[in-house]
Amino acid sequence: MTAVLEKRTARPIGRKAGVRPRAVVVGLIAVLGTFVVSVFSLGTGDFDIAPADVVTTLFGEGNPAHEFIIGELRLPRLITAIAVGAALAAGGAVFQSLVRNPLGSPDMLGVTNGASTAALTVIILGGTSTQLSIAAVLGGLGATLLIQLIAGRALHGFRFILVGIGMAAILTGISGYLLTRGVQMENARALLWLTGSLDGRDWGQAKPMLVVLAIVVPVLLLACGPGLKILEMGDDSASALGVPVPLLRNGALLSAALLVSFAAASAGPVNFVALIAPHLAKRLTRAPGPNLLPSIAVGTLLLTGADFAAQHLLQERTLPVGVVTGLVGGGYLVWLLTTERRAGRI
């Protein structure tokens, strides 16, 4: 925190638009935090490894036993956590920027529900985990397209939000029906999936997630980031400034939906990360626009931290990560509702 304050006082007054020092510091601190959590997370478990050994193993100089435990058992889960956190945060940042509301995240607007309902159908029909992932991706994208189709051209503002909420409610109803169709064990699996969990994730889940991130995030950053910032000033102003509004909006929406759907496919609909991470990032950087990179950094820290807590919070058993993000997110949300209301932003 002190570093943040020093940086702020040292900032020159006549700052140019572009990279903000405060955003850089926030991002770096979050990345550093993620690294520290990762080292601890890789080092603890049934077989504890000292932090120093974890670091040397990561750089490829550890002993074979450590290499096996970290590389094959613990690293895939951690990488999945990092990738899912980044994807959810980036998707959430784009959504919140597009609908111009700090609560307009994909979990509230039916995108995540689309993925869950599709995945639930596969679970109840007894499908494999590959089919489940494919269904989740298609479900999320399908729900997004449907919402956009019904909402019409006016993507910003209340109509998109309301259609999204309506869609989420319909899909929740269908999920409830699907849950009643399953027998006891399937239901337990379904409910675990619906909460969002990273248990037993291997490279099969981590790799597709990394590929999608590597493709979509640069596109978002380079092609959409600056445009989204201008779009927040209003459609008319943005058009006047030469932003291709419909193209930008549809492209950004689709990319965000893709990220969120893939995240849901690999870890289940982990609640609230997409809502909180961009919000927290914005609050810390105090910068306008979607704050994509800081959001991603905060998102990875949030999810790795939540997963670490989920594994060590209770002595007797591990929790699904979604429980931790749900509890943290719920508390943050209540606080947000009270403070933001006073400011008249919600």
């Binding site: 209340f158 309506g166 869609m167 409610a169 319909i170 109803g173 409830g176 609640n271 997110g329």
Partner: protein
């Protein structure tokens, strides 16, 4: 009003008549009153309690929705969408898992407490002048998501509880019996009476606090009474059959074009027509899902959802 009551009566007869053995309206009548009739047991043991429960729950949710819309001056307020029913569910899930409560009478107190907390929160967020419909709905959706994720988190540790609660979490009338109906009745009656009596003062309140005071109403008292009524209605309805969305939203919207904004007309119509939607959805669920059934909560979501989307599109 006569027409509305007729429609309600038709749905009631249909709801009693429909099932594994279809009963004609004449047989329903005989089964209701004549204890020597062959259908007496079918009607009294399973179908009548279910229908009565649907009647009460439907009325409760519809009325609560209409009152919330008036109180928050927000056309999109619905106890399901704003998370009030989810608050009651969260409390019930807590009761079921941590305290081993398993009966309606045990649930209901928890449900009332949960509904009361969320109602107060929704009012705090949405009652101010700055809140637009979309903002309130979004705040409610977020609250809803929090509470539902809490419910699944709590149920997750307990496989048997998942199985016991699965019909309840989807929203279902299937577990109805006379004991539940009897125990729901006092809460429902108190909520209904308070809600209907609040129509006149709420009308005054819709002019603004100052005008209402000038008309002799006391805004703080009215608000408290209304929040108590909503809590009673939603809490007891949710305890009896799980969280159900859209009933409280749609019926007031369908009624308003005929009655105008005067709550003295709107509330009674809503109270009569809301159970039509709920029982209709239940009947539909039994027809579509046979030989089993679709839960009424699923049907209201699937039928009510598109209607909601239509309203949003039409509203501009």
């Amino acid at each position: 009003m006569l027409l509305a009551l007729l429609v309600l009566a038709a749905v009631l007869v249909l709801s009693i008549g429909l099932g594994a053995r279809f009963l004609s309206p004449g047989e329903v009548w005989a089964g209701l009153w004549d204890s020597s009739s062959a259908y007496y047991h079918i009607v009294h043991d399973s179908r009548l309690p279910r229908t009565l429960l649907g009647l009460m729950v439907g009325t409760a949710l519809g009325l609560a929705g209409a009152i919330m819309q008036a109180l928050t001056r927000n056309p999109l307020a619905d106890p399901g969408l704003l998370g009030i029913n989810a608050g009651a569910s969260a409390a019930v899930a807590t009761a079921a898992v941590f305290f081993g409560v398993g009966t309606f009478f045990g649930y209901v107190w928890f449900a009332l407490a949960g509904a009361a907390i969320v109602t107060a929160m929704v009012y705090a967020v949405g009652g101010g002048r700055s809140a637009t419909p979309a903002r309130l709905a979004l705040a409610g959706a977020a609250l809803n998501a929090t509470l539902l994720s809490y419910v699944s988190a709590v149920l997750l540790g307990d496989t048997q509880a998942i199985d016991r609660m699965k019909f309840w979490t989807a929203g279902s009338l299937a577990s109805a019996d006379f004991a539940t109906v009897e125990r729901l009745l006092p809460f429902f009656a108190a909520g209904l009476a308070t809600g209907l009596l609040a129509a006149r003062p709420l009308n005054a309140l819709s002019l603004g606090d100052d005008a209402a005071r000038a008309l002799g109403a006391r805004p703080a008292v009215i608000r408290t009474a209304v929040i108590v009524a909503v809590t009673l209605l939603c809490g007891s309805a949710t305890a009896a059959c799980g969280p159900i969305v859209f009933v409280g939203l749609l019926i007031p919207h369908m009624v308003r074009p005929f009655t105008g904004p005067d709550l003295r007309w709107m509330l009674p119509y809503t109270a009569v027509l809301a159970p039509v939607l709920l029982l209709g959805a239940d009947v539909l669920g039994r027809v579509l899902g046979s030989p089993g059934e679709l839960q009424v909560g699923t049907v209201t979501a699937v039928v009510g959802g598109p209607l909601f989307l239509y309203l949003v599109r039409a509203a501009k």
